[in-house]
Every structure is written in structure tokens, then in C-alpha cells.
């Protein structure tokens, strides 16, 4: 574990340098341990793929023995991390996301297949046959970074990002797969689209997928896609 300041009101707690399931579990365990006994002045803990970023208000951290706020925060994180080492995170819930692969919904499916010497059907079967875990939600509201992508499907991001990726696009970027909740620019390879809405600011929680959830994809036809989207 390495704690590095991120300016005067946040620190990054790095727990590894890779996107594996064990690191993701350690990230969740640390977030849980930090939130069980929050330090006054703590604003929020944000899990990412292999780290937790802790945001705080230095003016509200209780001063003790003239120690600067960031020193107190660092000690608190170290204490809580020691406690986290002894607890096991609960297994996440499984969410099955419908996806219409290929065609106009996934314009890069053929290119991704070509890069790996796989047919479009094989890509669909490998992608929908695996189980993923949500390692982070970010980039835009509700965008899930999913770990567990089979190595056969790892595909570099596009050299020139698209200026418009449609909302609901299911995509592959490097060693991860993810879903674009909004129409945004993006450089990942688009292989399909889900009719589901991933972010609703009026719902609690506002995101469909949370860090720690397990995810599987279920192929649907374009008819089912259109029906689901209009219902």
C-alpha cells in the first residue's frame, strides 16, 4: 500500500498496479473499512481499478498535537487499512445486461474480430460467456469499468477517438470492457449496445452498476433491443 498526496485535500492510496480481481477486492475492503469509522472532515472515498482516492476537508480534520491535517489523515488510513486486511468483502450481486451485438449497434465488432482472427459470432460468444466485475465507476456518471475480459479480446483503444459514441454502447478498451451511459466522445471499440439506462440522477443509487457488482452480458436481437428501448 502506498499513500501519495493528491494536492491539499485528497490522497491516492495505491493497492497495486494491475487490474486483477484480488486487487479489486482489496480496494473494496479498504473503502468499507474507511467508511465504518469515518474521520471527521472525510468527504468521500472513491474506488478506482487498483486504488482508493480519499477526499477530505483539511479545515475539518480535528487537529491533534499540532500535526498537519494530511499527517492525521495518513495515520487514520494506515490504521483502518490494517483492520481491512482481516475482513473479507461480500460477494457482489450478479447483474445480467442485455446487449445487441454487431451491426449498427456495434460498428467495431468485425474489426475487433479481425484483430484476433475470430469471427463476429466467436467474439460474441467469448464476450457474453465471461463473468466480469465492476472495478470502478467513473469517466462519466455511471460508466462501469469491467475487469475480467478474456485475454483473447484485449484490444488497444482507437488511435483517434470518436467524437460521438452513442449512449448504451458496450465497448472494449485495452484489457477492460465497459458501457457508455451517455453520448460522449470515446476511444474504445464498440461491439454492441444495451437498451438499459445506466444512470438516473433521481434514483438511489443513481447508477445501475456499483463497484463490486458481477456482470454478465446476454445477447439479444435488434428486434428485442428496439422493443426494450421503447417500452
Amino acid at each position: 500500500m502506498k499513500i501519495a498526496p493528491l494536492g491539499d485535500s485528497a490522497v491516492v492510496v495505491a493497492l497495486g498496479e494491475t487490474l486483477d480481481a484480488a486487487t479489486a477486492a482489496a480496494v473494496q475492503a479498504l473503502v468499507a473499512a474507511l467508511e465504518v469509522k469515518p474521520l471527521p472532515g472525510l468527504i468521500e472515498c472513491v474506488p478506482a481499478n487498483a486504488s482508493v482516492t480519499v477526499y477530505y476537508d483539511p479545515a475539518r480534520v480535528p487537529s491533534k498535537d499540532g500535526q498537519p491535517p494530511h499527517e492525521l489523515l495518513r495515520r487514520w488510513i494506515e490504521d483502518r487499512a490494517a483492520a481491512a486486511g482481516r475482513s473479507e468483502p461480500a460477494a457482489g450481486r450478479l447483474v445480467i445486461v442485455p446487449v445487441c451485438y454487431g451491426g449498427e449497434w456495434g460498428p467495431d465488432l468485425e474489426t475487433v474480430g479481425g484483430a484476433h482472427g475470430l469471427s463476429a459470432d466467436e467474439i460474441v460468444s467469448v464476450h457474453s460467456g465471461a463473468e466480469y466485475f465492476v472495478s470502478a465507476v467513473g469517466f462519466t456518471p455511471g460508466f462501469p469499468y469491467l475487469g475480467g475480459l478474456p485475454e483473447r479480446l484485449h484490444t488497444p483503444r482507437q488511435k483517434t477517438p470518436r467524437t460521438r459514441v452513442p449512449a448504451g454502447s458496450v465497448a472494449i478498451g485495452g484489457a477492460q470492457t465497459g458501457i457508455y451511459p451517455f453520448e460522449t466522445p470515446g476511444g474504445w471499440n464498440l461491439i454492441g449496445r444495451t437498451p438499459w439506462r445506466l444512470f438516473n440522477p433521481h434514483a438511489r443509487p443513481p447508477t445501475l452498476l456499483q463497484v463490486g457488482d458481477r456482470v454478465r452480458f446476454r445477447p439479444i436481437t435488434s428486434g428485442e433491443f428496439v422493443a426494450a428501448r421503447t417500452s
Partner: protein, 334 residues
């Protein structure tokens, strides 16, 4: 209930508050006014809670008609502001008469002004905040920038604001207080600031030359800058790393300076992402963020080393100064 009619929307006018912390794990950035200090000060000047919603006005301002007598205050960038051709001063409370038309021209200096109205802009709280999240289209007024024909509702003014408005009553279309927030209590806005930075988690990834250039050269603000970030151009080649390393995305903060592969730094502002995959060379001290909020294309910025301890001491000192300014303002309507 008082209403504000948008006659001309201006370049980019949005409803903002000081931000909605607490939702970053869902990918929702705190957002809010880029110069949150200016909004807080404007709110205090009209007797609002610091966190009330106001308008953020960018480079070319709006024209607004007020249906009722309203106490307002403008802080931040220096705009030409008039009612019936008479200049309206900033950094102080101003009572507008019923039906007054407030005309913002172009910004003379700086980039963003904040307009507070007594009672705040009455829009629903979404995810704990009233600010506009432009990328996801929620919060503020219908989740978007203001357009001609929009009508905003004002909330109920405080007793303090009513008393002050009564004391400012006069014959003209507006009457301004004879006192103001003095220059010493305002941020030292400039078109060429040098801001204090703390080294970032990936500082060591940059070679010695890039580290030295970052701290000693000046960078130009490019036109691709917006509420998400200041996109800077190095004078000369970009800042490069010792080795090309694949980085696992991790959290970023407002003021974080990221360096993408082209070596041109990006300073993240209010509408930043929550997680970023570019190396972070440094993060700007929170007390210096208002200076960045006021930069426009063509301006320049430099970075100077500081420590977390010093930046936090500056933060605490700024908090004490703000409390003193608040007390001073409160006495005016007592």
C-alpha cells in the same frame, strides 16, 4: 415570487452552486461554479447561505429582466454591467427596482463572474446540489445552459437582505451600497498568474528536464479550455516522461495537472472527470483555484513548488479571512 427572465443568454450562462461532493464513486464530479469563492462571496453579500445557487456568467454576459425588486451582487471577472446605461458596480450589494433590465457586456478582464440574487435561484436539488451538470444533462435549470425566453424563479430573501434592500431604497432604477469587498479581500486575479502546486503521484515519471521546465516555464491557455479543464500549451516541445508506462486509471482532484502523451498539460477544473488515466505531475493549491478560473485563451500560467503542509496552512488562513469578511458584511445591515 420574483422571476428572472433571460432576454439574452450570453455565451455560457448556467445555474451553479459551490458543488455536489459525495457522488464521485458513481462517476459524478462535484462540479459547481468554477470560481466557487466568487459565488460564496456574492451569496454572502446578498444575505444568502454560502451554498445558494447563482448564475455563472462566461466571457460574454446575459441580459436579464427582474420581475420584482431584487438585491443582487456580482463577484469574479470584471464585466461591463449596466441598467439603463448606468454602470452597476461589482463586489457589493445592489438593489434593482421592479422590472429592471440588467445588461452584462463582455468581460473586461477574467473569464467568469458569479451573480447572486437574494434568496438564491430556486431550482430543485439533484444529487444534493443545484448546479448544472452539463455532460449528463441534470441539475441547474433543466440540466442545460440558459437560453433566451427561460424564466428562473428566485427563492425567498433573508430578513437581512430585506433590511439591507430597505436601507438602499432610492429614486433610481438601482441603488448600490456605498461599501464593497475591498481589493485586499478579493483574489489577486491576473492574466498571468503563478500558482502553487504540490507534486503529484506520478511526478517521478517525468524526466529531470520535464520537471524543471514544468516549474520554471510558462504555459499558454489554449482555446480548447472549458469548465472541464484548462488545456495548456508548452512553449517548445511537450513535457515527456522518462519511460512510457501504462497507467491504471485512478482518482483525480480539481486542480490536478495531468499530462497526456502529447506532453501538453491539462489543469482539471470543476467539471473534471472523477477518474483519469494520464500521469499526474502536480495538483494546484486550493487557495489558488480562483486564479485559474479566470484565465482565458491566450493568458499564461506558471507553477511554483509548495508543500501540502504550506497549502493546508494557506487554506486555513483563507478560511479565517473569509469568516472575517462575512462578519464585516453582516454588520452592514444590523
Amino acid at each position: 415570487m420574483s422571476r428572472i427572465h433571460i432576454i439574452v443568454p450570453g455565451m455560457l450562462t448556467t445555474v451553479q452552486d459551490p458543488g455536489r461532493p459525495g457522488w464521485q464513486r458513481h462517476g459524478v464530479t462535484p462540479g459547481g461554479a468554477v470560481d466557487a469563492h466568487a459565488l460564496r462571496l456574492a451569496n454572502v453579500l446578498v444575505g444568502n447561505a454560502e451554498g445558494a445557487a447563482g448564475l455563472e456568467i462566461t466571457l460574454a454576459g446575459p441580459t436579464l429582466r427582474f420581475s420584482e425588486e431584487t438585491l443582487i451582487a456580482i463577484c469574479g471577472a470584471e464585466f461591463d454591467v449596466t441598467v439603463e446605461g448606468r454602470a452597476v458596480p461589482a463586489w457589493r450589494p445592489v438593489r434593482l427596482t421592479r422590472g429592471a433590465v440588467l445588461v452584462f457586456g463582455a468581460a473586461r478582464t477574467g473569464c467568469r463572474a458569479c451573480l447572486a440574487v437574494a434568496g438564491g435561484i430556486a431550482v430543485p436539488r439533484v444529487l444534493g446540489g443545484r448546479g448544472t451538470h452539463l455532460a449528463a444533462g441534470f441539475g441547474g435549470f433543466e440540466g442545460r445552459t440558459l437560453r433566451a425566453g427561460d424564466v428562473l424563479k428566485g427563492g425567498p430573501p433573508s430578513h437581512w437582505a430585506k433590511r439591507l434592500a430597505g436601507a438602499l431604497a432610492g429614486a433610481g432604477v438601482f441603488s448600490a451600497a456605498h461599501w464593497e469587498v475591498g481589493a485586499a479581500a478579493r483574489p489577486a486575479y491576473t492574466a498571468a498568474p503563478t500558482v502553487r502546486v504540490m507534486r503529484g503521484p506520478q511526478w517521478e515519471w517525468f524526466n529531470l528536464e520535464a520537471q524543471a521546465r514544468f516549474l520554471h516555464e510558462r504555459f499558454t491557455v489554449t482555446p480548447r479550455s472549458d469548465r472541464m479543464g484548462l488545456r495548456l500549451a508548452a512553449n517548445g516541445p511537450g513535457l515527456t516522461g522518462e519511460t512510457l508506462r501504462e497507467m491504471v486509471s485512478e482518482g483525480v482532484a480539481t486542480g490536478t495537472v495531468q499530462v497526456p502523451p502529447d506532453g501538453q498539460p491539462i489543469v482539471l477544473l470543476a467539471d473534471r472527470q472523477t477518474i483519469g488515466g494520464y500521469p499526474k505531475i502536480a495538483t494546484v493549491a486550493t487557495v489558488d483555484l480562483p486564479l485559474l478560473a479566470q484565465l482565458r485563451p491566450g493568458d499564461s500560467v506558471g507553477f511554483r513548488d509548495t508543500s501540502v503542509v504550506e497549502a493546508q496552512e494557506l487554506w486555513l488562513a483563507a478560511g479565517r479571512q473569509f469568516a472575517t469578511v462575512k462578519q464585516g458584511i453582516a454588520l452592514h445591515a444590523a
